[in-house]
Amino acid sequence: MKTYLLPSIKLTIILIVITAGIYPLAIAGIGKFTPGHGDGETVTYKGRVVGYANEGQKFTKDEYFWSRPSAVDYNAAGSGGSNKGPSNPDYLKQVSDRITDFMKHNPGVTRSQIPAELVTASGSGLDPDLSPAGAQVQVARIAKVRGIPADELTKLVDAHTEKPLFGVFGPAKVNVLKLNVALDELKK
């Protein structure tokens, strides 16, 4: 056994140093030169950090574009989805309640205009995005609450719509935090 045990222990030690020590430290060093300096990219409004660009946060007030429902209530110290199965009756009731709530806050919107992501929870609970349709469907409500012409808001959403990768791969999306920061900046 000694022929295998001793080399095993020594090999383990040296590989721990290489794979868990040197390798991540090298990546951390390179990370210093990235846009967020390796700490994550933040978004500021009026000189104050109001969030991380990649992480969704809770927007439930009528004057903001709402973010998606979240199973962890946008608590970024954790993460997770609802893990509800598609046939779960409690879950379907919850979705139905979200639809009712959305329609109450957005009078004039029909059910078929509501895209699924606005009434379903994301996988991480921290989804930062909406589909362009998910943002546009809220324009009428925000226009009314803020007294801003709807077509100005439509243009704002268009300007914040990020195209698919290289224009051809994957879905288009809108970052809700950046959109809402731009929305508050309009007011000035």
Partner: protein, 571 residues
Amino acid sequence: MNTEISGVIFTYLLTLAIAIPLGRYIARIFKGEKTWLDFLAPVERFIFRFSGIDPKKEMNWKQHLFALLTINSVWLIYAFVCLMAQGHLPLNPDANPGQSPDTAFNTAISFLVNCNLQHYSGESGATYFTQHFVFMFLHFVSAATGIAALIVLYKAMKDKVTDKLGNFWDYFVKTITRVLLPISFVIAVIFAFNGMTTSYAGKDTFISMQGDTVHVSRGPVAALVAIKHLGTNGGGWFGANSAHPIENPNYLTNTVELVAQLIIPIALVFALGFYLNKKKFAYVIFGVMTLGMLLLLIPTMNAELNGNPAIAHMGISQPNGAMEGKEVRFGPANSAYWSIMTTVTSTGSVNSMHDSAMPVSGTMMLLGMMVNCFYGGCGVGFLNFYIFIVIAVFISGLMVGRTPEFLGRKIEAREMKIASLIALLHPFIILVGLAISSYVVVHMPGADWAVKPSTWLNNPGNHGFSEMLYEYTSSAANNGSGFEGLGDGNIFWNVTTGIVMVLGRFLPIIGPLAIAGLLANKKYIPESAGTLKSDTSTFGLMIFAVIVIIAALSFFPALALGPIAEHFSLK
């Protein structure tokens, strides 16, 4: 064409474009030919000298297994101790406590065996110390263990070998220095420049636009996520795994993560062709694997793109498909692709929550893990496939009335016994576990564990049954993804899945190596007109039939009670 579908096709083609040359490169390394990373040779010499290893010493198959099992035992003890003690160890900026003995038992095994089932949440259940010195370390070495074992098998399949099958340490170390580390490095740099965090700073706090105080978990994520995928490990930094916006910030990182988890399993198939000089044989195997993968992928994409019929009934538009448990930046098509890639390989990372997927998708994911060799995990995927090859050779031999031969060696009773045992092991450990847990749910609902059996299941009816089926299938296949609604953070699940993971890892490594080692010692029979041709599509179909009959049909009753029943009840 729809940009979501084109994204999926692009991702797969990119994977092949990288995997084929990588296969050639891997074959060159283990044939001892020149490669462009030869400048790393002094590093390897240093590692060998430090460890007191002579990398030129030839080993037979038993010695290979001794070496493999010894070093794996060392890692198991090391990981277990670290996880229990993590609360007192350094690099713990968020002050997380040590794991309970049963959680540490499960977690240590889980990462050791390349499974990465996680019965804790990375944000609160692990420290930066254990994320690095246990998880990331095991990500590297568990993947390298599988690949090194496979190289032993390849060597044994060569024409003129007997019992000199190379040196285990040599294969193992070179897998890390020549394959895993350099590629991980490149991937991690791409991640770092795309918004993944790399620094060692702990949680941050800010006040949101609406005035909520938010704490944000962070950490040196990029380095871990690179090897997590490259080594088909799948154990993530955060609880939400690659659905988390830091662990997978955008479509580009998502594409890279998808490519990374597939390139080595696919490359190893092509490496076989280059290594043995039997390219056509490798194409046949690749064809069988790809056919299997597509048969799982297409129904899944179809189900997810059509959306949840129950939500469609409410009048909601699902222009791109089902969105529960999915992220907008990836979309349902890509999430469906991911869920199949992560289950046909043994990765088990997720970019959407599988528990919320359509029942058809759940069936396909389960089948991917039940077969566990349509590409499969790093090294072990082909080891599993090898068992099916042996059985297919044997049955074909019987059908034409000849002694079954494979690559010039006779397959006899002893080899067949091993192959049958290994092939039946997988359904056995899954279904026995499932039977016990079902019994506990029904008859011991109030058992006094951290999570009471009465609250284990997050969903009622057939879907709840699927949650338990998925957990054992994922453990046995060393996959590590989960129907995460399951209340698995208690002693019952920690212990039972721990045992299933160990059996599901080491027996399928020992079995194929034993068969190949025994075969290599037999007399070599040159090919003649009567030899079964292993590099034809007919033989490919034969293997496919064996896989369907053994792996898929043994699970049909369980699938019928779970996701299939749910599918027909969903209106």
